[in-house]
Amino acid sequence: MTNGWVDIKNTDMMLIMGGNPAENHPCGFKWAIEAKRNRNAKIISVDPRFTRTSSVADLFCQIRAGSDIAFLGGVINYAIENNRIAKDYLVNFTNAAFVVKNDFKLPGDTDGVFSGFDAGKHTYDRASWNYAAAGGAANAGAPGAPAPLPEKVDYDLTLQNPNCVFQLLKKHYSRYTPEMVERITGIPKDQFLKAAEMYTSIRKDGDMKMAGTIIYAVGWTQHSFGTQIIRTAAMLQLLLGNVGRAGGGVNALRGHSNIQGATDMAGLFDTLPGYLKVPTPGDASFDAWMKRATPTSSKPAPWDSWNYYGNTPKFTVSLLKAMYGDAATKQNGWAFDYLPKVDRDYSWTHLWDDMYNGTVKGMLAFGMNGVAIGPDSNKNIDALKKAEWLVVGEIYPDETSEFWKSPRVIAQGDMKQIQTTVYRLPCAGFAEKDGSFTNSARWLLWKNAAVPMPGDCRLDHGIVAQIFLKVRDLYKKDGGKFPDPIMNLTWNYSDRLNPPLAEVLKEMNGKALADLEDPATKQQIKAGQQLPGFAWLKDDGTTSCGIWIYAGSFTEAGNQTARRDPSDPSGMGVHPGWGWSWPANRRVLYNRASCDVDGKPWDPSRRQVWWNETTQKWVGNDVPDFKADSHPKDHMGPFIMNPEGVGRIFAPLGAFADGPFPEHYEPIESPIVNPLHAGQSTNPMVTRFKDADDKFGTTKDGFNVVCTTFRLTEHYHYWTKNNPMNVQLVPEPFIEMAAEMADEMGIRGGEHVKVSSARGEYIAKAMVTKRIKSMMIDGKKTYQIGIPFHWGYRGIAEDEGKTARNLVNSLTHTAADPNAHTPEFKGFLVKVEKV
C-alpha cells in the first residue's frame, strides 16, 4: 500500500477491484465503512462475483475475470475526454509533458504490439521506448549497450506535442471506448459510464480537494498481465492527482501476515533485500554491477530530481558488510564473487519446471505448501516424484510433504517407485515465537512469544540455522566447491543455533563500523552503535545494514517495531508512535505530492506535509517523503525513487517487459479473440512451458466457462482446514455457479459437479447463486464460475472423508506475468458437468 489501512478513512471515493476486502480483509475494511459514514465516500465494486464488498458498494459492475485493463483504460479515456484530470499535478508531478522518441509506436498502429517486437523470438528491442533528448541530441551511452535515459529530456508543458506522453496516452486509450469496454469486459455500456463518471467525479471542474483510492488484491496480480493492470491503476491515479494524498494512493492488500516483509526481504530470485537488483554474470565486477544498477537522473533541464536510488552503492556495500563482515573488503569488491549471479528466470513456475525436468534435485519448503498452492498441482506432484530430497518445515500435515501418497499417486499406483526422500520437521506456531511482521501498510509490528512449543517442535529459524551450521562444519572438515561464502557468512548471534530474532533485527537495521559524523549537523555516531536511518549509510565499508529500507527500525533507542503509542495527534490515522513503518516511519508514500507546486496542501483540511517558509523546511503530520530542505521553487519531483523525479505515466526502456503503456491482452485461455487485435490476442511476452503436463484448453475443445478462484472469510489459505472451529463454520468445498447456468444443466444446489480444465479435474458441491450472472462477452453469452480454494487432501474434513480430496489448483495453468512472474490463477477455461 502507498497509504495504509487507517488512512482509508480519509478518502472520498473508492474503486475496489481485484479484491474483496469485506470478506478477505474484514478488520481493515472497517476504515472503508468509516469513510462512507463520516465523509459520504462512495464505493465502486468491480468483481466477477457480487461479494460482500459489493453489497455495501454504491455501484457494482460484474466484470469478466481477466479484462481489468480494458475497464481501467476505459476510465482513463473517460477522464481525458471529459477533462476530469488534475492538470497541474499532471504537468508538474508526472512525465506527461516528456516527449517520447519519434520511432516509438503504439499497439494500435502496429498490430497489437509496441515498436521493436521480434515476432520470431518473442522479444522486444526497447530502444524506441525512451524519451527524446532535449535539443535533438542523441542519447549517449556506452558503445554497443542500449542507450540509457537522456540526462536532459525534451518536454512540452502545454502537453500539445503529438509525441508527448500525454498525447500518446490519449491516443492509446482513445480505442478503449465504452462500446469496446462492454465487448471485452461484459459490463454494459451504461453501467460502465456510471462507474467512470462516479470515480472521476472527484475531479469535476478541476477541483483538487477530493481524493480517491484504488484498492486491489490478488484478483489483479494473478494474470498473465497482472503487473500492467496495477500500472493502469497507478496511471489513472497520477492522471487524477491521487497519489501521495491522504485517502488516495494505489493500495495493494497483501494476502498474508508477512508477504510484504517477505517481498521487502527479497526471498525471491530476482532481488536482494530492499529491492536492490541482483548481479548478473555480465557484471564483471562490483563496480560494473553498481554502474548498471545505479540510475542517473533524467529530467527537463530546469527541474530537479533527487534520484534516491543514486545511493544504491551505499545500500549494497552495507548489505554485503552485514552478510560478510570483515571478509567484504574494497579489494575483493565487497565479496562480490560470493553472490550467485542471475541471468535467467528462476521464478516459481520455472522452479517447478526445473524440478520436473531434473535440474532441481533438492528442495527446502518452510511453511510453503507448493503442491496445493500450484498452479497445476498435478505438475508439481509429478515434479516432486523426480526430486532426490525434500525437506518440509510445517506445523500441520500438508499436501506437499505427503505428495507421495496423494490421490493422484494412489490412482496411478506408483508410490513404491517414487525415490524421493522426504523429511518433515515440526516447527513452531505463530504464538510460540517472536519477531516482526510487516503488514500491508508497511508497518513493522513486533510480536512476542506466548506459549512454549508442543512436543519435539523446534523454531523454524533455529532449524535453518542448525542445517546451515552443519553444512558449514562439513565444508570445514571435508572441503568442497567454493566454500568461501559459507565459511565467511556472519553468524555472530549470542545463540548461534537459535539466533535471537531481536539481534537479527538489529543486524538488519544496521550499525556504524567506524566513528561517523554528519558534516552538516556535526552529529556523531560511535563505532558499534545502531544507525538512526539509511541517510547514514556509506559505500566505503564503514556501515553495515541488512536491508536499507528497514534502517531506523532498531536504533539506539531500542526496538521501534515494538512501540505501542496509539495516539494520533493529527486525527488522520497516522499513528506515528505505533510500531514503525518503512521507509523512515513514513505512513503515506510520495506525500510531497499532497501539496501543489508551491508546497501548499491541495486540501487544507487534510494537511499531511507542507513547506515551512520560516524554517525553510518540509514539515508535517507525517514524515515528509522528500528532501527536507528542497525549496519548492527548485521544482524537485515528488517521486524521488524515479530518476525522472516524477510519476511515470509512460514507463521507459526495460521498466516493464511488455510495454510502456498497459494494453489489454486476453488471458492465455479465453472465450474470445481479442477485439482490439485478433492477430495478437494474448500477451506476446508470456512464455508457456511445453512439458507433457502443460496443456492449454480452448473453446473448440469444449472449455467454454471462465473460471476464477477466490477465498472465504472463514478460512485462511490451506491452514485453517486444520482448525475445528473454521471447519465447523464452512465444512466443505463448493463451486459457485449462476442459477441460470444450473437451470440449463439441471443442477440443483448441493449436488456434486465436476469441473475440468485441460490439466485436471475438481469435484465439489454446487452452490447455485445469483451472485454470478451470465455475461455477453463480444456478443457471446458466457458463464463464469468461482471456486474457493481452501481444501486439499489433508485436513479435518478431508481426513474424515467428507470431501473429494482434490485441489482447485489442479485446474490452473503455469503461464505467468512476464514482469512479476505471478501465474495466471484467475480467468482460465473449464467445462462443468453434473456428476
Binding site: W5, H25, C27, R254, G255, H256, A266, G267, L268, P273, G282, A284, M323, L339, P340, K341, D343, Y346, L351, G362, L364, G367, I373, G374, E388, I395, P397, W404, M415, Q417, Q419, T421, Y423, R424, P426, F430, A431, K433, F437, S440, A441, K447, A449, A450, V451, P452, D456, R458, D460, H461, K481, F482, P485, L489, V504, G546, E714, N722, M725, F825
Partner: protein, 193 residues
C-alpha cells in the same frame, strides 16, 4: 423457569452440602464461575498470523512463566489499543486459540524413505545430519563457477528454497543470508504467488 447450569451450580454449592449429596465437591467449580478465567492470566501482545491487515491480538495464558510452569493458552482476543483493528477480529482471528491448542500439530521429525509407503520417526540429530549431507552433496555436484561465456556465476541450480507467508522478517533475512551464501538461485516465496 429452567435453571441454567450457572444457577444449578449456585444452588447446589451451599457450604459443603454438595459433597454429601452428590458424593463430590463442587467448590472448585463454584470458585471458577466467580472469577473470569483471564483475570489471573498473562497477557501477551501478538499479531494475527493470517491476512495482511496485521490485527493486534492478545493471547491470554495461565501460568506465571516460572521455569517449572508451562503456560497454557486460555483465550485470544483482538487488541483494543491497536489502531487498525481496534479490538476486533474476524472468524479466523477469533478461532486462533484452536490453532494454538490443536491436536493435529506435527510433534516429531519424520522421514519417508525412497519407495516408502509410510512415515518413519527419525531423531532431530539424524534428520539434520542427513539433510546437511544432502545439501552439501547436491551443492558440490551441481555448483557452477563459470558459465558458458566464462563469466563467474558461483551458483547452484539444483537446490530450491520456498518460503512461507507467515515467516517473520528476521527468519526471512536469515534464509536469504544462508541460501545466497550456498549459491541458491531457485529462491522463491509465497510473495510470488
Amino acid at each position: 423457569m429452567n435453571p441454567t447450569r450457572r444457577d444449578f451450580l449456585k444452588l447446589t454449592t451451599v457450604g459443603g452440602a454438595a459433597a454429601a449429596v452428590f458424593g463430590f465437591d463442587l467448590k472448585p467449580a463454584y470458585a471458577q464461575l466467580r472469577v473470569l478465567k483471564i483475570a489471573r492470566a498473562n497477557e501477551t501482545r501478538s499479531t494475527c498470523p493470517y491476512c495482511a491487515v496485521g490485527c493486534g491480538t492478545i493471547i491470554y495464558t495461565i501460568g506465571d512463566r516460572a521455569k517449572n510452569v508451562t503456560a497454557q493458552v486460555v483465550h485470544v482476543e483482538g487488541d483494543p489499543d491497536h489502531p487498525t483493528n481496534r479490538g476486533t477480529l474476524c472468524p479466523k482471528g477469533a478461532s486462533l486459540e484452536q490453532d494454538i491448542l490443536n491436536d493435529r500439530r506435527l510433534l516429531k521429525p519424520q522421514v519417508r524413505r525412497p519407495g516408502g509407503t509410510q512415515w518413519e520417526d527419525i531423531s532431530w540429530d539424524d534428520a539434520l545430519n542427513e539433510i546437511a549431507a544432502r545439501v552439501k552433496k547436491t551443492r558440490d555436484e551441481s555448483f557452477i563457477e563459470k558459465d558458458a561465456n566464462g563469466h563467474t556465476v558461483n551458483r547452484t541450480e539444483s537446490i530450491a528454497w520456498i518460503g512461507g507467508c507467515t515467516d517473520t522478517n528476521e527468519f526471512n533475512y536469515l534464509v536469504v543470508k544462508a541460501m545466497r551464501a550456498l549459491g541458491v538461485v531457485h529462491l522463491e516465496n509465497q510473495a510470488r504467488v
